[in-house]
Amino acid sequence: MDALDSFRATAQEIVSFALQRGIDLEPLRKGFTFQKDRRHVDCWRKDLLPGTGPANEPLGTLHYNLQGAIAVVPDKLKKSASIFRGRWHETGTFESIEQAFELVKAWVIDQKEVDDLPCRSVRSYGI
């Protein structure tokens, strides 16, 4: 088993789901990463490798790790606006492949600001 099997398979799942919605994500996929301009996001499912998620989490849990340029300070860190440098990073989980698709679309294609991103379970974030 290659360590990145889960990343590649999940990227393919999202591309296939997007096609059912009439959206072609293939031009944005670079290996297992979805990327456009100064934003990228990786998605994967927890498997038996320790690096794919916390030990107490069910196998198959959908994860994401996104990073990139934003223009507006997210509400969560409004008090830190003075040190905001136009960057954001965030990790979390999804309940479904549909949620994963919606986030990839909003982050990479629509280039939405953080406070306008769709439903997801955020685990960590920072500027």
């Binding site: 998620g53 790790n65 830190s80 040190i83």
Partner: protein, 139 residues
């Protein structure tokens, strides 16, 4: 190091650098500017919801990762007290360089089999003492 704070974060703790604005947050704690050491941040662990030895545990975990990929893991300052409620780590700085996706593949292939939650802790950036843009494990 001073034990004073700027008044924007938690109460002062003996030996901890002065902290400034919050720059991030996760399940284990809150990350603040380090006002005494440019290029470094202070992670303050949540009380009660993490091990009392979280600073020691996280430091050891990062040292394990650094043994595998020395340039792809932030440095951390060894906790003077294993029960201290914070950890000082390098800050990952932004870069305009395009992400090196081939390097990311190699880093993940090396870290995923051994380092807990590596997939969720990798960032693209630089550090103050190493301006080479690269993928960096932050915890």
């Amino acid at each position: 190091m001073s034990a004073n704070t700027s008044g924007t974060g938690p109460a002062p703790q003996m030996g901890r650098p002065r902290i400034g604005r919050e720059i991030g947050r996760g399940a284990e704690g809150v990350v603040y500017e380090n006002l005494d050491q440019p290029g470094w941040v202070v992670k303050e662990f949540h009380h009660g919801s993490t091990s009392p030895f979280q600073a020691r545990n996280e430091f050891r975990n990062m040292e394990r990762a650094r043994a595998i990929r020395p340039d792809n893991v932030v440095k951390a300052q060894a906790p003077a007290d294993p029960r201290q409620g914070w950890l000082v780590k390098e800050e990952v700085l932004e870069t305009d360089a395009p992400e090196d996706l081939i390097e990311k593949t190699h880093v993940l292939q090396d870290l995923l089999p051994q380092i807990p939650d590596a997939g969720g802790n990798l960032m693209w950036g630089t550090t103050l003492d190493n301006p080479m843009p690269r993928w960096i494990l932050i915890e």
